[in-house]
Amino acid sequence: MVPLWMFLLVAAALFAIGLFGVLSRRNAVAILMGVELMLNAVNINLIAFWRYRTPDTMIGQAFAVFVFVVAAAEAAVGLALIVAIYRRRQSVAVEDVNLLKW
């Protein structure tokens, strides 16, 4: 038997790792990967709570499915943006995309 808090702990750790990736990596693709990690952490939480609290409705799983959808949409659009930026500036480092300043 695995108690609930373990899942929550793993999810929190994964979320923190993803957050660190998002905040620290220079490469936009890597940032996107960090976001994916964070979304997965959320999904773990959703499913864990679903399993332990409300296994007789579908709410947790349904939400997880919507998170999948959002993740897919985010990846598609984000990567398209990255490719477009790279084509123009030959770089995907976020510091190089800082036109909107001062």
Partner: protein, 768 residues
């Protein structure tokens, strides 16, 4: 879930298909002619079918669910107005039922006809879009159960008439006519809206049945004095406002001027405006609102209210006035336009003396035969244009028969003649329509409806001795005589004798199997038959022979439509005098016309015999008549030119340039002088201080703005920090420990990080 098979909900759907079709045509199908016509026709047919189901249901044929004082309809909440809720709804009562017979039929016929008529126009898809919208608006108006919904349909029609009259907007005259129609009706509409607003303010409802079945309310309105025009009661003032709206919409004197100009639109539009929709809407609205107009009065016993008198006098005058004008017109559609005004005058006058069922009857029959007449005239014009083309191709020089050297005018009757054998179906249509218009006794629809108006007017005027009814009867009789006369004139000039131009000689609709002729002639036949038989639904019960044939159990139309309102109007006893009168005026007019125009058809270039006859009395008579008594010119002088003068001379030159500019210039000079003084002061004192502060701020900002690095990640970091702080405070509440110390510690940490980071950034920015 709403059960659409229930007759109470079906009326909602009747206006929907054309409105939907309009949207579809404008948004989707307007590249394809085929799709557009299909859409429009399918929508119209659907509406017609639904209206017919409603009709059958209402009169109890086939479904056994007849209306008997009750009505079909349903309401839904529309908008909340403070404490009350405005209900929107539909209503099918006997009057609506009568309209549901005429309106969708006429619209359907016009639509079919338009397919042929517009087949070669470059903007034909747009045309169908407007027409569908027009039809939808009219149907909406017909099924509306309250004045506001009715007004919506009314206004949409106003817009459509504007865009359709100006449909050929390349023509200067067309777009002017469109604007004129819009402006003229706008004047009336505004007044009508005032009436509606007043009504709502007084009663708190606009629903027809809520108002008319409430005796106390009507009596109260009739007793209460109006807010302005002290002599009037509230009901009277509202009525007058509404009647003025109708005067605009139904083109009564003095707001009739837009209707003849509306002939600039394509002919189906004219048919739509004159027969099915626009002008009928005005009269329909009056019939709808009749109890309100009648409140406090009883025309059947000689008590008239202000709106009734207004209608009686205006209507009767208009009927005669425009009939006189129509005699002197040469444009085939213009004659019909004035005849419409005249016939609407009949209805108004009938309403004014209390014969509202007769008016409704005439509205129905007139709708049918006027649609027929307009479509026939359109066919004539089409044939003339075709003939002109043909003549051109064969090298003939086409010229106007009356010696004009301008563009050939296919609408001028003087250019026609002898078309009888060339376009026989059109001839049939025009003949039946014309005879109905003239009120040819016993066999046309127009006779029966007109006769009923005469009977009522005679009874009230000479039987009971009421002045307004007497006035109405005399004027209407004269107008009817003139109607028959100019109808005969038109028939003769168009169809009789020999062709007066090459174009007329070559006129045809382009072969029996073409799109044009098929689609244009079909509706003519249908409506032609209808124009002959439609009158038999309202034959007076004790009319010799015919009454026995068609009205064995009482006058069906009278009894049915009479059920609209709580008080059934009395059925008049048969009186031979007014019937003889109708015989005499109709046949007499036709005979005179026949003598003058048919027996000796006009030759090319020959002046009009009526003109010759009138010139013997006074040379100005004909001139005034053919110039429509100079009403347009009068308006030009009285309204247009003065306002132009006002704006040009008074406002622009005197007030603007001299008075206002003068004052302003003076002030400006003074101000300039003072300003100079201040400037000196400024330079020395204020600039020293004022420049110093902004420069200091600017320097600081220039230094500080480097916080804004443009680096998304950094922003994100700050956002997460902020989220952490919020999260922290929420967490403190959640676990119910005393969080103060933790909170303060972490907040301090956060602040330190932020400050450190800021300093680092800023320092980095400066170092760069």
């Amino acid at each position: 879930m709403i059960d659409w098979t229930n007759a109470n909900y079906l009326p909602w759907l009747i206006p929907v298909p054309p409105l939907l079709a309009a949207a579809l045509i404008f948004l989707v199908t307007n590249r394809s002619w085929w799709l557009t016509t299909t859409t429009a026709l399918v929508a119209t047919i659907t509406s017609w079918v639904m209206a017919t189901i409603m009709l059958l249901r209402a009169i109890g044929v086939a479904f056994g669910e007849a209306l008997d004082g009750e009505a079909f309809g349903s309401t839904a909440p529309w908008m909340d107005l403070g404490s009350t809720q405005f209900q929107i709804g539909v209503l099918v009562d006997p009057l609506t039922t009568a309209m549901l017979f005429m309106v969708p039929l006429a619209i359907l016929m016009i639509m079919i006809y338009s397919v042929g008529y517009m087949a070669h126009d470059p903007r034909r898809e747009r045309f169908f879009g407007y027409m569908s919208l027009f039809a939808g608006a009219m149907l909406l108006l017909v099924v509306a159960d309250n004045l506001l919904l009715l007004f919506i349909g009314w206004e949409v029609m106003g817009f459509c008439s504007y865009s359709l009259i100006g449909f050929w907007f390349e023509k200067e005259s067309a777009h002017r006519a469109g604007v004129k129609a819009f402006m003229t009706t706008r004047v009336a509409d505004v007044i009508m809206l005032l009436g509606i607003a007043y009504l709502y303010a007084e009663t708190g409802t606009l629903s027809f049945r809520e108002i008319f079945f409430n005796e106390a309310l009507l009596a109260g309105l009739a007793a209460k004095p109006a807010i302005i025009f002290g002599g009037l009661s509230a009901a009277g003032l509202i009525g007058v406002f509404l009647v003025i709206g109708t005067i605009g919409k139904s083109a009564q004197f003095p707001l009739h001027v837009w209707l003849p100009d509306a002939m600039e639109g394509p002919t189906p539009v004219s048919a739509m405006i004159h027969a099915a929709a626009m002008v009928s809407a005005g009269v329909y609205m009056i019939i709808r609102m009749y109890p309100l107009l009648e409140a406090g009065a009883d025309p059947h016993h000689g008590v008239y209210s202000a709106p009734l008198l207004l209608m009686a006098y205006v209507g009767a005058f208009t009927a005669l006035f425009s009939a006189v004008i129509a005699v002197a017109q040469n444009d085939i559609k213009r004659v019909l336009a004035y005849s419409t005004i005249s016939q609407l005058g009949f209805m108004m006058a009938a309403l004014g003396i209390g014969a509202y069922i007769a008016a409704a009857f005439h509205l129905i029959t007139h709708g049918i035969f006027k649609a027929l007449l307009f479509m026939s005239s359109g066919a004539v014009i089409h044939a003339m244009e075709h003939g002109e083309h043909h003549a051109h191709e064969h090298g003939h020089h086409v010229h106007n028969a009356f010696g004009g050297h301008g563009r050939f005018d296919p609408q001028d009757m003087r250019n026609m003649g002898g078309l009888k054998g060339r376009i026989p179906v059109t001839w049939f249509g025009f003949l039946t329509g014309g005879l109905a218009l003239a009120g040819f006794p016993l066999f046309t629809a127009g006779f029966w409806s007109k006769d009923e108006i005469f009977a009522e007017a005679w009874h009230l005027g000479f039987g009971e001795g009421f002045g307004p009814a007497m006035f109405v009867f005399v004027l209407l009789a004269l107008a009817a005589f003139l109607t028959a006369f100019y109808t005969m004139r038109q028939l003769a000039m168009t169809f009789a004798g020999e062709p007066r131009t090459e174009a007329a000689a070559q006129a045809s609709l382009g072969g029996p199997k073409t799109v044009v002729s098929t689609f244009m002639q079909g509706p003519l036949i249908v409506l032609g038959v209808a124009a002959l038989v439609a009158g038999y639904i309202g034959v007076p019960q004790d009319f010799p022979l015919f009454g026995w044939l068609f009205s064995g159990n009482g006058n069906p139309f009278h009894d049915f439509v009479g059920g609209t309102l709580p008080h059934h109007p009395p059925t008049l006893a048969f009186n031979v005098v007014p019937v003889l009168f109708s015989f005499v005026v109709a046949l007499g007019g036709l005979y005179v016309g026949y003598r003058v125009y048919w027996r000796r058809p006009l030759a090319a270039g020959q002046p009009d015999p009526t003109q010759l006859a009138l010139d013997r009395i006074s040379p100005y008579l004909w001139q005034w008549m053919s110039h429509k008594f100079y009403v347009d010119e009068l308006y030009q002088r009285v309204f247009v030119q003065p306002s132009q003068w006002l704006s040009e001379v008074l406002t622009s030159k005197i007030i603007d340039r001299i008075v206002i500019d003068g004052i302003l210039h003076t002030i400006a000079h003074v101000a300039g002088w003072i300003g100079e003084l201040f400037k000196r002061f400024n330079r020395v004192v204020i600039d020293g201080v004022g420049d110093g502060i902004p420069q200091a701020i600017g320097a600081f900002a220039g230094w500080f703005r480097r916080v804004q690095t443009g680096n998304v990640q950094q922003y994100l970091l700050m956002a997460v920090l902020a989220a952490l702080v919020i999260f922290l405070s929420a967490a403190g509440l959640l676990v119910r420990i005393s969080p103060t110390t933790v909170l303060i510690a972490l907040a301090a940490l956060v602040v330190i990080i932020v400050v450190l980071n800021l300093i680092g950034r800023v320092w980095g920015g400066i170092a760069e």
